[in-house]
Amino acid sequence: MTAVVTDPGKRVDDDSGELNVAVLKRNARNEVWGLLGLCSPSLFLVGLIIILPVGWLFWLSLYDENGMLSFVNYERFVEQSSYVKTFVTTFEVSFGVTAICILLGYPLAYMLSQIPRRAASICMILVILPFWTSVLVRTYAWLVILQRKGLVNDWLIDLGIINQPLALVNNFTGVLIGMTHIMLPFLVLPLYASMKSISADYQRAGMNLGAGPVATFWQIFFPLSLPGLAAGVVITFVLCLGFFVTPALMGGGKVIMWAMRMQQTTSLYANWGAGSALGVLLLAVTFGLLGFFNWLLRGQIKAAWGGK
């Protein structure tokens, strides 16, 4: 203790003059590489099964039937009216289904968000239940129920409400009914989640400040639920655009949607170039729509949430 007196302050100054800069930098870099290493298997998989095929699709769409580089596959969309019609039908169906889903799904989600948690989870299971059954099975079930001599028409005739059976299937109506059934949960789930996160205090505050139940709903609850509604609408709409099984079965060949066109082109006419072009166009349109929705809804939410 008496012999060697080291100055602790000086020692710190001496050997950590650069204050561990190099070591800390190396640690940070190692951390980044470590995380990247953990991600790499899934990144590789995504690249292999998504990026690569999509790139290939794009590549294929640029060749005509003789293997020559051309835009013939894309020119067809403009020249042939049947393509334009398919395109319009696809959007009509998607808009229709999304609109019906909003009309049915919003009140449903609202009810679920307001009832006690236990009752809500039971109802939620009922909403999700159809997810556990195959789309094909559900579509065939609808065919049975809605056909000319099906359950619905028999009842309506027995009750004397109609004389002639209604054409509920093998047409546009059938496609709407079948697809709405399948799409409803996709709208309800995100909407319910966002409604559940709206604090009851906002509605209480609204009523406390003199707004009746209706005014509180439209001025407080509805604007606050818009982001969730937007999420649900986007998911529903985009899924509708690429739908195949239900319109194919319930449209009775009269309602041709984009995905059905693709199937025809590739398996019937074995024209991979044309099929790929359809795929690329759908992808581009979907991206464009997502961007448009994003822009539109951001503006709308801002207006609803906005200033004076």
């Binding site: 604090s199 209480r204 609204g206 009523m207 406390n208 400040l209 003199g210 001025q219 609803a304």
Partner: protein, 360 residues
């Protein structure tokens, strides 16, 4: 708004509220005087927030009556009660800016635009947020949100204002500042105010009267200074401030401790063992036990905790009970203070000794 509003009294009678099989409020009676600042104080689960929710109309009572002035309101929907409320998390509408939040109650009342603009501006001035009308809610600090919530609750000149732990989300210094501001705002506007908190210091600082709630009942309703100096029950004594509980024997309305009669101003139960309640800062160091009168306690110093401006001395009495003494670190006090392990004599004035019935 600068005129003192004609604030009505609130008369709450026999409120019963059950959630399932649990009685949250049991036949609760409470009268709030016109213009009074009354605080409901109690631990969580005591029913204070439920009572406030029933007052505001968000929760339906099983039975009972609430009269604001002459009018029965318990059957009225919340939007017709005309009661201002400040929520614990403020509940400012995130999709509206400050102006629209404060204008909301006026728009519901179909007030014309020019009047709305003027009244919002006035309300903002009252809470010292002039010029904040265009801010978005998420651009405000906690204290500013608090003020906007306050402005929104008073802008339509409600006769009654309810506050549900409005300061609990603020940090300590801001909270203390807002306590004073809320108090002066109340004095200026004079509305009947019911304030809920679990913070006893806040309640004591702000209230005209405090209702201490426990298990769905009001244990004691008194002015803060009376509540502090003369708690009527063991719960109130334990909940408000720090307390020494010393067991005393009661016979024929007189309390005894180690053969000495306890001098007190409070009512003494007729028989049984009950508690003498004393506050640490009211306990003094005595030089010795003189005569047979006076409240003296003898023990030994267990520990002295230094707290900067003051100290706490824990003394173990002869019966093993601990009595705490708090005083400022002045030289005259410290010089008389025995060291740890040494014997000590303590004295409590009759005015500072309260007897409360032991709870079974």
């Amino acid at each position: 708004m600068s005129v003192v509003l004609s604030a009505p009294p609130i008369s709450i009678r026999k409120i019963v509220k059950r959630f399932g099989s649990q009685d949250v409020l049991k036949d609760l009676d409470l009268n709030v005087a016109p213009g009074e600042f009354l605080t409901l104080l109690g631990p969580s689960g005591s029913g204070k927030t439920t009572l406030l929710m029933i007052l505001a109309g968000f929760v339906r009572a099983n039975s009972g009556s609430i009269k604001i002035g002459p009018d029965e309101v318990i059957t009225m929907p919340p939007h017709k009660r005309n009661i201002g409320m400040v929520f614990q998390n403020y509940a400012l509408f995130p999709h509206m800016n400050v102006f629209n939040n404060i204008a909301f109650p006026l728009k519901q009342r179909r007030v014309d635009k020019a009047t709305i603009a003027r009244q919002v501006e006035q309300a903002l001035h009252q809470v010292q947020l002039d010029g904040y009308a265009d801010r978005r809610v998420d651009q405000l600090s906690g204290g500013q949100r608090q003020r906007v919530a306050l402005a929104r609750a008073i802008v339509f000149e409600p006769r009654i204002v309810l506050m549900d732990e409005p300061l609990s989300a603020l940090d300590k210094s801001l909270r203390e500042h807002m306590q004073i501001e809320l108090r002066s705002l109340h004095r200026r506007l004079g509305m009947t105010t019911v304030y809920v908190t679990h913070d006893q210091r806040e309640a004591i600082t702000m209230s005209d009267r405090i209702a201490v709630m426990n298990n769905g009942c009001i244990e004691q309703l008194d002015k803060p200074e009376i509540l502090y100096s003369t708690p009527k029950t063991q719960f109130v004594a334990g909940f408000i401030g720090e307390s020494n509980f010393t067991p005393v024997d009661c016979r024929d309305g007189v309390a005894w401790y180690e053969g000495r009669q306890i001098e007190t101003r409070s009512q003494v139960p007729h028989a049984g063992q009950h508690w003498l309640v004393s506050r640490p800062e009211k306990v003094r160091v005595a030089d010795g036990v003189n005569g047979d009168r006076g409240n003296f306690f003898t023990g030994s110093v267990r520990e002295i905790v230094y707290q900067g401006d003051s100290f706490i001395c824990y003394a173990t009495l002869r019966d093993g009970q601990v009595m705490a003494l708090r005083d400022y670190c002045r030289s005259d006090v410290l010089s008389r203070l025995p060291a740890a392990g040494e014997p000590i004599h303590l004295r409590i004035d009759a005015e500072d000794a309260a007897i409360v019935q032991a709870e079974s």
